[in-house]
Amino acid sequence: MTALISWLVLPLFAALAAIALPSRARLPAALLGVGLTVVASIWLTIEVWNTGAVTVSLGGWRPPIGIALRADGLGAALGVMTALVMVAVALAARHELAAKVAGPRIGFGFWPLMLLLWAALNAVYVARDLFNLYVGLELITLTAVALVAISGKAAAIAAALRYLLFALAGSLLYLAGVVLTYAAHGTLDISLLAARTVAPGDALALGLMTAGLLVKTALFPFHVWLPPAHSAAPAPASALLSALVPKASLLILLRIWFEAMPELATPMTQSALASLGALAVIWGGVLALLQSRLKLIVAYSTVAQLGYIFLVFPLAGGDGAAQPWAAGAWTGAIFQMLAHGLAKAAMFLAAGIYIAAIGSDRLGDMRGLARALPMTGFAFALASITLLGLPPSAGFTAKYLMMTAAFASGQWAWALVPAGGGLLAAAYLYRPLSAIFARDTALTPRPIPWAWQTVPLVLAALSVALGLLSSIPFEFLQIGRPEQAAEGL
């Protein structure tokens, strides 16, 4: 429990310190906060591993009066992934967004925003209360929008405003669902809701919440805000936005559909969600193929990669949750979240290095950068492997688990999505890779510190290592899973 609480409050304290402290103490305080939070997240993971899901009723008030938090395998795993990404981003931002380089405004603002985002993510990962989730989601939205706008460019402002517009619409829809749920059941606690008697309005509440969360998750066709926003932000911010932010709303979707209202998950709606996911895979892939800027490619790839995860609804949701393959499908989807988080962050940080080196992320300008920055090129390639779903990366584990579940459940058509999506990913990632690894160089890069270069490499390597060592994470993710299927396929 202590681990859980410190994991929640440490980034908050660090954020407050970063706001309040004078500029010379800001970075050390922020980095200290990052370090301590990482320790806390590892501590929490160990605790969850040892004792199972950790549940806390805040203030000693049990739901429905108070708010409960529960760190299960899923939440803790996302927490660790977040911690890894945050450390990487912090290390990269130390170079890229230092006040000396990026100006005092960014030098001031980035750290509290990052830490607040972290706190909000952590809060969402363990929240069991739908309204508390709403508050957490709003904090994420506001910090994320601010991070988009932080570069100060006109395009960034417009992208941030558009993002905010979409996100607020989503928030309202979600809030509407929350309102209806409380009005009908007098509680917002997920565990209590799971035991409720179904009310007629629940369908509307579920529909509204789902639609709202879909916008925030940037599922096709509501993904349009994402590519401009993620590509307009400075690279470390993009890494946070792409790797982590959509995962929060996605997690809430999972919580609602699998834990709070599993009985409302019918094949038709599940298929509808998965169809949108499939469309996202195709649409995001095709558009990524059409981009000529690295960050836009990577951003559209996020649209595509998030699409896979929606296959979890028909494969592990509703009545299927009790089936033997559900564990595989569920875990596969979460592996995809984790793998995508690590790999995408690596990619954006690599893009950041390239932009710092040559001042551009146009593919034409990036030709031959692997020569001067081999580690970054290697990192990008490794991350690509994960996104392509090639073994032995975690992306492959995810794909494999989901495809296996698709076949085992007799819904083999869904297996086409990861299979085809991998090919599309290969197509759109091939272009940046071939540019980076070209023989001729377009521009002479500025030297980049070695310590900075290793950051994306380590992240990308982690995304592969997660696949190599996937048995422990697999088991970990089963902790506190709603339907305990003993063994996967």
Binding site: F131, L161, L175, A183
Partner: protein
């Protein structure tokens, strides 16, 4: 019965707000529409919370929190609109700027 009036008013306000949010182009309008939807929802919520024996304080607390959240979002949105206008001369999204 009184509660129904407020609840339906809330629902209608949501509808109004949704229309405004979608159909209006100026971003300040959309911020107002957003607040309209929010307050409509809260009205509905408040009416629902008042159905029981006493006034349920939890919806009220949630509504107050919601109002502050909406204010925060509005403040950031307003700031963004001004910044947008400063950098591009319009308070509408770039692809809708021509509609003005």
């Amino acid at each position: 019965m009184n509660l129904t009036v407020f609840a339906l008013t809330g629902a209608a306000l949501v509808g109004l707000g949704v229309y405004g949010l979608i159909a209006r182009v100026h971003m300040l309008r959309r911020i107002m529409a957003f607040n309209l939807i929010g307050s409509g929802l809260f009205l509905f919520f408040g009416a629902a919370g008042a159905r029981g024996v006493g006034l349920d304080p939890i919806p009220q607390a949630l509504i107050i929190t919601g109002i502050v959240v909406a204010l925060s979002a509005s403040a950031l949105a307003v700031g963004l609109v001004v910044a947008l206008a400063r950098s591009s001369g319009t308070a509408c999204l770039p692809d809708e700027a021509g509609d003005t």
